[in-house]
């Protein structure tokens, strides 16, 4: 069993605040992804758990015990580094044996465990090679093996797939997920890739400038983003944002100088306490916008700006009265091929509209 709890963790690098009052609970056997842009504090948070950084304030708990004072090697956590951190002077076999030698494992047991891990990771034929003689994918597996062989309470992975090409990355993602589920080891995974986060994580922690923006399952993060940052960071293509003050003129709607969007009864009810003319931002995901070659009642006209072909989908960039929005539609379901310069009509699905406060960024609806 390995639960990890972070209690009001703060970290300063000199005068720079890297992690700002982070509190988090990671359950046993959970794969928790720390997601955010470069410099958001996700790696620093992980390093505090590993003991490689000393928190300025706050506590780290492992299975209910405070571990702030423990040397990294005594915390029973294993880390896979972004650059793999392989020792140039050691063979693959020596890499696997190295952590076990620190814990005075018997030779027989060492040989057995090295063999097991090598077989599991398909590295049995490469045990006598040095890191410089391995491909990037093989190096990544050696780094994984060095962590696996220790059978730790928790894995910490700092963007381990970052150096792989797209296809290998996708394959390794699936392997990693399966591996973590089989082993049942609590894992903390750091990445800036939101696709990776959504495909791997049981829980995603979105961070920005040292602060936690939102914690939730991949579905919660995607469907109910807490604020503008999370909404814009998650999703490919990212959510469209349009500045639209709330407008009440008989019926409730969103209106700017370029277009007007009427709100249905459900949304009207949700914004009834919001002052009129309050600056809001409308957020709508590209797949939640309907596209039609003909004008249907209530649709907004837009000019096709760019058409991107993505396999069986189109991602159409539209000029909506000066704002550029993206629409993602299945080719077959769309029924027509948009042409650059063509005028098309768009309709936002009412139950998928998000409204954000322009000043605070918080989601209102």
């Amino acid at each position: 069993m390995a639960t990890i709890d972070l209690e009001h963790l703060t970290l300063y690098y000199g005068r720079v605040l890297a992690v700002d009052d982070v509190s988090l609970c990671i359950a046993d056997r959970e794969l928790c992804v720390l997601l955010g842009p470069t410099g958001c504090g996700k790696t620093s948070t992980m390093r505090m758990i590993a003991g490689l950084e000393t928190p300025s304030t706050g506590k780290v708990y492992l299975d209910g015990e405070v571990i702030n004072h423990l040397y990294p090697g005594d915390r029973d956590v294993a880390m896979v580094f972004q650059d793999y951190a392989l020792y140039p002077h050691m063979t693959v076999k020596q890499h696997f044996a190295f952590p076990l030698q620190a814990h005075k494992v018997t030779k027989a047991e060492l040989e057995q465990r090295v063999g097991e891990v090598a077989d599991f990771l398909q590295l049995s034929d490469l045990l006598d090679r040095y890191p410089s003689e391995l491909s990037v994918g093989q190096q990544q597996r050696v780094a994984m093996g060095r962590a696996l062989i220790r059978r730790p309470k928790a894995f910490l992975m700092d963007e381990p797939l970052g150096q792989l090409d797209g296809r290998t990355r996708a394959e390794m993602r699936a392997s990693l997920k399966r591996l973590q589920q089989e082993l049942g080891t609590t894992t903390i995974y750091v990445t800036h890739d939101q696709v990776e986060a959504q495909s791997l994580g049981d829980k995603i922690v979105v961070m920005k400038t040292g602060l936690i923006q939102q914690v939730g399952t991949p579905e919660e993060i995607y469907n109910d983003p807490a604020n503008l940052f999370v909404a814009g960071f998650i999703g490919t293509p990212s959510m469209n944002f349009l500045e639209c003050p709330l407008h009440v003129d008989g019926k409730v709607g969103l209106k700017n100088h370029r277009f007007e969007v009427a709100l249905g009864p459900s949304l009207t009810q949700k914004v009834k306490d919001t002052p009129a003319e309050r600056p809001l931002i409308l957020g709508i995901r590209p797949e939640h916008i309907r596209l039609s070659p003909q004008d249907e009642s209530g649709d907004l006209p837009a000019e096709v700006y760019v058409v991107e072909s993505h396999g069986n989908e189109y991602v159409v960039n539209l000029n909506l009265g000066g704002d550029v929005i993206k629409v993602r539609r299945d080719r077959k379901k769309l029924g027509f091929r948009p042409e650059v310069g063509q005028t098309v009509w768009v309709r936002f699905l009412q139950d998928k509209i998000h409204l954000f406060d322009k000043e605070t960024g918080a989601r209102l609806v």
């Binding site: 590993a50 003991g51 490689l52 040397y71 990294p72 090697g73 005594d74 915390r75 956590v77 294993a78 880390m79 580094f81 972004q82 650059d83 951190a85 392989l86 020792y87 140039p88 002077h89 190295f98 952590p99 620190a102 814990h103 890191p131 410089s132 060095r146 220790r150």
Partner: protein, 278 residues
């Protein structure tokens, strides 16, 4: 086709240049070795002899010398050089590692001061050191000369090896710490093997520096701790320098270093080029 010819011609020219430069550098060493196998008369022959009947009289004569007692001096040179080198490498490695890995208050100034010791003119410090050692009754003493040589060798070693330690990614050490190794074990098992080229290069420089050193050895030693360069100077006889024996002494000093260098040449090349970690 012209491009191929030009490429081949350029490679040939480069090779020829390398051979010429190699001969130019090797020539003094070869001439010293040859002269050590010549008689006194052969050494003064004009034009200089390239083909001659070699003799071992210069080498056998060294063993029979009483003043200087060459074999004792030869042994002293290597004991002092090796002793100074080993101490310098141990202390230099640890200090260089500390400078590389830890934020030290005024570390830049401290590092610069340490480096300045390397450049300090020996001639300016001979007399003060002599007075100091005389007061401490440390004249003509192996340990005293080793300590003095360490002043220069440690400062060089620290400066030289810091660059090597800087090249080691910190993530390697962090990985070892997480695996359960103590800070010293991380230094010993991870960092030291990776700076081996630097250590070997520093060792060669320290050995050469120590073996060649004359001024301090002449000033601080008499009979017990006298070194080979001092003995070499004593081969200036009343009738002129005994070139044969001087070249024999020089050859005997060069050969061990040469053998060591040849044995570790791969590491030396990596060290001289600040060999990249792979």
């Amino acid at each position: 086709m012209i491009a191929d010819l030009w490429s081949k011609a350029r490679q040939s020219l480069l090779f020829l240049s390398m051979v010429i430069i190699g001969l130019v550098f090797a020539f003094p060493l070869v001439w010293i070795a040859m002269s050590s196998f010549k008689t006194r008369v052969q050494n003064f022959a004009l034009p200089p002899l390239v083909i001659f009947q070699p003799t071992l009289e210069n080498y056998t004569g060294l063993f029979q010398l009483q003043n200087p007692a060459f074999m004792a001096d030869y042994r002293n040179s290597f004991v002092i050089a090796v002793g100074s080198t080993v101490i310098s490498l141990v202390m230099g490695c640890l200090t260089a590692y500390g400078f590389s890995r830890h934020e030290i208050k005024m570390g830049g100034c401290l590092f610069g001061w340490i480096l300045s010791l390397r450049f300090f003119p020996v001639v300016a410090m001979v007399i003060p050191i002599y007075v100091l050692f005389r007061g401490l009754k440390l004249l003509d003493n192996h340990a005293a000369l080793i300590a003095v040589y360490c002043i220069f060798n440690i400062s060089f070693t620290i400066w030289f090896l810091k660059g090597f330690f800087d090249e080691i990614p910190k993530s390697l050490e962090e990985a070892a710490r997480l695996d359960g190794y103590s800070p010293f074990q991380v230094f010993y098992r991870v960092c030291l093997p990776l700076v081996r080229p630097g250590i070997i290069t520093a060792a060669i420089f320290c050995l050469i520096q120590s073996i060649n050193e004359f001024l301090l050895a002449m000033s601080l030693t008499a009979r017990v701790a006298e070194t080979a360069p001092v003995a070499l100077a004593k081969l200036q006889t009343a009738v002129g320098p005994d070139w044969g024996k001087m070249c024999a002494v020089s050859s005997l000093l060069i050969v061990p270093i040469l053998i060591f260098t040849i044995l570790v040449r791969n590491q030396l090349i990596r060290g001289m080029s600040f060999g990249k970690l792979k």
